[in-house]
């Protein structure tokens, strides 16, 4: 066992995603010596395989969809050619590379922290943790730091299903690297990755079947599931709910994947060219040897942290997906800076998820902030809700697409808004507005009476707020 020595660094960060960068920037700005260790591509999930590439592809697919869907506007006639998947993927790759350079790689030099490419593992003891780094060139080095940050993220996770390992299945990462649009695709899962990938490939031209255990986006309002089911049906996506996939195999002759699922107690076989598993992501902690340094790990491999982001070893912290907390890059970013403030300034900052917005970038998008109806009830809030179908939102009418809704959950006693959910074009921007509403503790009456520009989607928030006191079917344009 090595003698305790002076630290080589103030902070050693394992990983290079949003949480890692936020911490490294904050610590560097505080004048700390920072080391970052990355075993693979700089930038983590968001920029390389997550938010950025998926939203870039969805934006492209959306442009194509608009061209195929303009028939709802009389007098407008547009068309789309089949997708050139190689060009699309190449365009996505180059966008990702640009952002990776601008927002990650180049910043390391600008801020001036150290980067080592290699695999990190803890050695030493809980009292004296040391990081051992195995370089890609088989080199090895040991580093001591005053504080360590585990920001190793998450990876796609597949449940145990008979035959699955033998099937060459896709994940969202590999699906976004395909060089041809699959003729047909089964998407296994019902969370936001499954939803986005299903619509993406449907819009690129695949015949998509979605196998979902309970309902679409089961943590969100049930109205959201129903609205998205309707949209997906319109786009020719087959959504099979209450499906438990029991086995998967590749048919030798055709090369098709055949999935067998139990659906409401019956059995059905589903067949497609490709099979995409989008059943969630799990923290990446194997190989870190966390137990050796007294860091407790949970059932799903997550680093167990307190609300200040310290692990069970007070010098070892965690940020982002590896904590098992909500998997959003802006959560990881917040974690990174909070962790630094707590480690170096003893700030005692805590993460507050109450008004965390959640967006799924389908189109229409699904977004929410604050509590769902069910969550409010579970929290003991006596509440009252309204669901405003988009048929009442003039912007949706002039867009000739009224699929979706805006739901507001309010405290029945005070009228204070505690949750907003929307399925709408621009729902993400509505959720962003919702953060301000919730942070400012606004009531439905306040929101109902504030200015709001006519013919924006956000006007739906105001109309939904008005619906608490008024029959919206009897609202004239802009009458309050």
């Amino acid at each position: 066992m090595p003698e305790p020595t002076a630290s080589d660094y103030d902070l050693a960060v394992i990983g290079s995603g949003g949480g890692a960068f936020a911490a490294a920037i904050r610590a560097t700005n505080l004048g700390k010596r920072v080391l970052m260790v990355e075993r693979s591509t700089i930038g983590g999930t968001c920029v390389n395989t997550g938010c950025v590439p998926s939203k870039a592809l969805l934006a492209a697919a959306q442009a194509r969809h608009v061209a195929l869907d303009s028939g709802r506007f009389p007098g407008i006639s547009t068309a789309a050619d089949p997708v050139d998947m190689r060009a699309l993927i190449e365009g996505k790759r180059s966008l990702v590379e640009g952002l990776r350079a601008d927002k990650y790689v180049d910043l390391i030099g600008e801020y001036g922290w150290d980067l080592r490419q290699g695999t990190a593992a803890f050695v030493g003891t809980a009292a004296d943790p040391v990081l051992e780094i195995s370089g890609q060139d088989a080199s090895r080095s040991s580093v001591r730091a005053a504080h360590y940050l585990v920001a190793t993220g998450s990876r796609p996770w597949a449940p145990p299903v008979e035959g699955l390992e033998a099937v060459d299945y896709l994940t969202s990462t590999t699906a976004m690297e395909l060089d041809a649009v699959p003729e047909s695709l089964i998407v296994f899962g019902g969370g936001y990755v499954a939803l986005e990938q299903a619509q993406l490939f449907a819009r690129l031209g695949s015949k998509v079947t979605l196998l979902v255990r309970s309902r679409l986006a089961s943590h969100e309002e049930p109205e959201a599931s129903r609205a998205l089911s309707g949209v997906f049906a319109d786009e020719g996506i087959r959504v099979v709910r209450r499906a438990t996939v029991t086995s998967v195999r590749t048919e030798a002759q055709s090369g098709d994947v055949i999935a067998t699922a139990t659906v409401s107690g019956g059995n059905e076989e589903f067949r497609a060219t490709k099979f995409l598993v989008a059943t969630g992501r799990r923290p990446v902690t194997t190989g870190l040897n966390l137990e050796a340094v007294g860091v407790q790990v949970g059932d799903r491999g997550e680093v167990v942290v307190d609300n200040r982001l310290a692990s069970s070893n007070p010098r070892i912290w965690a940020a982002g997906d590896v904590t098992g907390h909500p998997q959003f890059v802006y959560v990881a970013g917040a974690h990174g800076s909070i962790m630094v403030d707590n480690a170096f300034n003893d700030a005692g900052r805590e993460v507050d998820y109450r008004h965390l917005p959640r967006v799924t970038f389908t189109s229409p998008a699904m977004a929410a902030v604050g509590m769902t109806d069910e969550e409010a009830n579970a929290a003991g809030i006596r509440c009252v809700c309204r669901v405003l179908p988009l048929d009442y939102v003039p912007r949706a009418l002039v867009n000739r697409d009224t699929r979706g809704f805006i739901k507001i959950v309010a405290d029945a006693t005070t009228g204070r808004i505690v949750g907003i959910t929307a399925v709408a074009q621009e729902a993400g921007d509505l959720a962003a507005a919702g953060v301000y509403i919730l942070e400012a503790h606004m009531t439905v009456d306040q929101v109902a009476n504030m200015w709001c520009p006519y013919l924006t989607m956000a006007e739906g928030i105001k109309i939904a707020a008005q619906s608490f006191r008024t029959d919206v079917s009897k609202l004239s344009c802009c009458a309050t």
């Binding site: 109205e223 998205l228 049906a233 107690g265 059905e268 006596r382 009252v384 809700c385």
Partner: protein, 220 residues
């Protein structure tokens, strides 16, 4: 036409043997795509849970999962006959049901079924203006004359199929000399007629419409 009329008449009569005041609300609830628990069905029909349980005993084919109803005619459990309503992927026991239920539910629907033997898919869209987009256009539906309706499913449904063409139905016709095949449009007209008979009878029996429009989810 004679044969078909006979089938239709018998079906109408037998359909009403079932307790439509129970069955129609059940259909509506199942169309939401979730298993229906008995108290919910009782609430929807305005009866007591005990009454509902008693009535359900008379419906032997009903499908349950974990104590909740997942199918009766319209089912959440996969069959060869898919019926997509409001984005929900549902199934029916019977090919003909795919052409009856949209009218009962007052909605448009997309239907997909598989030709027995070959598996060739038949796709039908049903809207307010009738059966549109029958693919392939040659598709037919087989019908038999039900004899014993105590189990609708085994007596009748199991013999009603979609075939992609009259030729594909030939082996079935040979095996069922009492059966017939009709074009999808005719089968749809038959289905609509059956549905309207049921709705009228039910409306007469009750003061108010049996099939409530889908409700906005209860808030809080």
């Amino acid at each position: 036409m004679n044969q078909k009329n006979t089938v239709a008449r018998q079906l109408s009569a037998s359909g009403l043997d079932q307790d439509a005041s129970l069955w129609l609300p059940l259909l509506t609830l199942l169309a939401h795509g979730d298993p229906v628990d008995i108290p919910a069905l009782a609430a929807a029909t305005g009866r007591s849970v005990q009454e509902v349980r008693l009535a359900l005993v008379a419906m032997p084919d009903i499908e349950y999962e974990d104590g909740r109803i997942v199918g009766w005619g319209l089912t959440l459990r996969p069959t060869a006959h898919r019926l997509e309503v409001h984005g929900e992927q549902l199934y029916t026991w019977c090919a003909l049901d795919t052409l009856i239920f949209p009218t009962l539910l007052g909605t448009s629907a997309r239907i997909e079924s598989a030709t027995p033997g070959t598996g060739v898919p038949v796709r039908v869209s049903v809207g307010p203006d009738g059966a549109t987009a029958v693919s392939p256009a040659t598709a037919v539906v087989s019908l038999v004359n039900p004899k014993d309706m105590t189990s609708v499913r085994s007596a009748f449904c199991n013999q009603v199929h979609y075939f992609d063409s009259p030729e594909s139905a030939q082996p079935w016709l040979e095996a069922h000399p009492e059966g017939e095949v009709v074009p999808v449009a005719d089968a749809y007209a038959l289905g609509v007629g059956l549905a309207q008979t049921m709705l009228t009878a039910e409306a007469t029996a009750r003061a108010q419409p049996a099939v409530a429009p889908p409700q906005q989810a209860g808030c809080c």
